[in-house]
């Protein structure tokens, strides 16, 4: 291995207790210590970079291939660009990304509506699986949902409105 090529004779005792069997990565890693040579392997050809690819600042480049699923765009894209100014070691990387993901959900809804699609939340959430296999759970969920919405509406409504809402709700 590489180490032998270098001269460590100035370090008293260098390597006298080295034990190749002391390797907790066995048998996962077929150890050749390639990485001691640094980022020096012959890289695969580069996939032409035809879109914006954010890359971790813990590496010098875009990998030879990359995914093209969803290049950054809109407000969420701006937040993602900010996140990628910080390393994977930083909360300023991961927390903005989570925020961007939530912003992206709203962008997705806007996009759907702009394309004249009204997202069918019931079907996107797969509630028909509950309808088939968990009808009582679905009923409880619906009841809880209705109660929460009702309570919020009541809380938001003024005193007068609240009475009216309440009366309506109680069918009075």
């Amino acid at each position: 291995m590489e180490e032998q090529a270098k001269d460590y004779s100035h370090i008293n005792g260098w390597g006298i207790d080295a034990d190749p069997k002391n390797d907790p990565t066995y048998p996962m890693k077929h150890r050749t210590n390639e990485e001691h040579k640094g980022y020096s392997w012959e890289r695969p050809p580069q996939q032409p970079i035809t879109m914006e690819v954010l890359h971790s600042i813990e590496r010098p480049n875009v990998t030879a291939v990359y995914g093209t699923a969803m290049p950054p765009s809109g407000l969420s894209g701006m937040i993602r660009r900010f996140a990628f100014k910080h390393s994977e070691n930083s909360y300023l990387h991961w927390l903005p990304l989570l925020v961007a993901d939530r912003v992206n959900v709203v962008e997705g809804l806007i996009e759907d509506v702009a394309e004249g699609k009204v997202p069918n939340i019931f079907s996107e959430k797969g509630y028909s699986a509950d309808w088939d296999h968990n009808r009582s759970g679905l009923a409880v969920r619906a009841a809880v949902g209705a109660a929460v919405v009702g309570a919020v509406v009541l809380m938001c409504a003024g005193e007068k409105n609240r009475k009216r809402w309440f009366n309506q709700l109680m069918d009075r």
Binding site: K29, W94, A129
Partner: protein
């Protein structure tokens, strides 16, 4: 083509998307015949993995037929039936060369901490996945493996992740003959880890979960002991008691970030996202293993921090071993095991669902409806 489309936490649908094209000379396009939903997909589905972009297609467990190849693909030809490992690996970087195919350095620009994975957010490279009719498969000469004569699609699709991950969980556990192995999680991965623990000579295999139907399944399929932690006052005390107060020789975390069982972990890890998922199972694993024991982690966590009793790792002198499974490294051995009838993967499949019903399949798997263990999606073009 039809493809799953992520719209936000717990919201997915099927949409039309363009058929992927060759973008690199070493790419192939694969027409999907089977693709699964995995416990790993639930971390994405629940919105817990940073940089999961709306519009992405998930799916890292798929098999299919090679439809088109790039100019520099030599080992595959159009029409080949292939197992596509969930890891995207170049075969040439320092990590791939040492068989760490889950840790490739030329497949994920966005994060150095993980190699590229199909359909697994931009944090794993931003690739569209296999819950679709077609997928772009980079480095087609490296990962994809031709399905041997006589093996069917259902067995093959579980070789893309579940079998290698369960096997590697047991392998990393360094099981010695006679060891007591405790596995947290009786999902497909835990069930497979329990089965594989015997192959390494375990003396006793115990699986712990909260879903009785999964425990029942594990008891039969993995021929192991199975216990419900909801019936225990404290799972760690349970393990201590049942091992003559020594602790297990080995504990395996096959749960990861969606763990239940501890309110503080659930609230901080899954609701508020103050930690990278709930680390309940790992916490239990560390505390249940004996002094000098080994904890093997295949459960997936996010990229930030988790609350685990690291002091006990030090004081007990534990060894922790963990990784994404290196599917390509393990495939030759595991294909043998499947062909010799030692591992019977497709028995895990409880649901075969048309790709069009992907939203319901996610819901069913995530909520453990209809005794679901492993759902497989079948695209309409599978029959073409």
């Amino acid at each position: 083509m039809l493809a799953m489309n992520y719209r936000g936490p717990k919201r997915v649908r099927i949409d039309q998307k363009p058929i992927p094209e060759i973008l690199h000379p070493e790419d192939a396009i694969v027409r999907v015949v089977r693709s699964c939903i995995c416990g790993s997909d639930l971390h994405l589905y629940n919105g817990n993995v940073p940089d999961t972009r709306v519009g992405s297609t998930f799916g890292h467990e798929f098999v299919g037929i090679v439809e088109e190849i790039g100019s520099d693909v030599h080992k595959l030809k159009v029409g080949d039936k292939v197992i596509v490992p969930f890891n995207i690996s170049c075969g040439r970087c320092a990590f791939c060369k040492q068989e760490l195919y889950g840790n490739c350095h030329e497949s994920n620009s966005q994060a150095t901490a993980v190699g590229g994975i199909f359909g697994y957010s931009h944090t794993a490279g931003g690739y569209n996945g296999g819950q679709a009719e077609y997928v772009r498969v980079p480095y087609a000469d490296v990962g994809p493996t031709i399905i041997p004569e006589g093996m069917d699609w259902d067995d093959a699709v579980l070789l893309t992740d579940v079998v290698p991950t369960g096997y590697q969980a047991a392998e990393m556990a360094g099981i010695q003959k006679g060891d007591t192995v405790v596995i947290f999680g009786a999902g497909p991965i835990g069930i497979m880890a329990a089965r594989c623990s015997w192959l390494f000579g375990a003396g006793r295999v115990i699986i712990i979960d909260k879903e009785d139907y999964r425990l029942e399944f594990a008891r039969n399929y993995s021929q192991c002991e199975a216990y419900n932690f909801m019936d225990m006052e404290d799972p760690v005390v349970f393990v201590k008691k049942t091992t003559d107060w020594m602790g297990a020789d080995v504990c395996i975390d096959a749960v990861g970030a969606e763990a239940a069982g501890n309110v503080l972990q659930t609230i901080t890890g899954r609701k508020l996202l103050l930690q990278a998922g709930s680390a309940t199972a790992l916490h239990w694993a560390i505390n249940s293993v004996k002094k000098g024991g080994i904890v093997s982690i295949v459960g997936v966590y996010g990229p930030t921090d988790n609350l685990v009793p690291i002091g006990n790792v030090v004081n007990k002198g534990l060894t922790i071993r963990a990784n994404q499974a290196s599917v390509k490294r393990l495939l030759p051995r595991l294909i043998d095991h499947v062909q010799n009838g030692i591992i019977k993967p497709k028995q895990l499949i409880t649901h075969r669902v048309p790709l069009e019903e992907v939203a319901d399949a996610y819901r069913m798997f995530s909520e453990k409806l209809d005794n679901c263990i492993k759902p497989v999606l079948i695209p309409p073009t599978a029959h073409a």
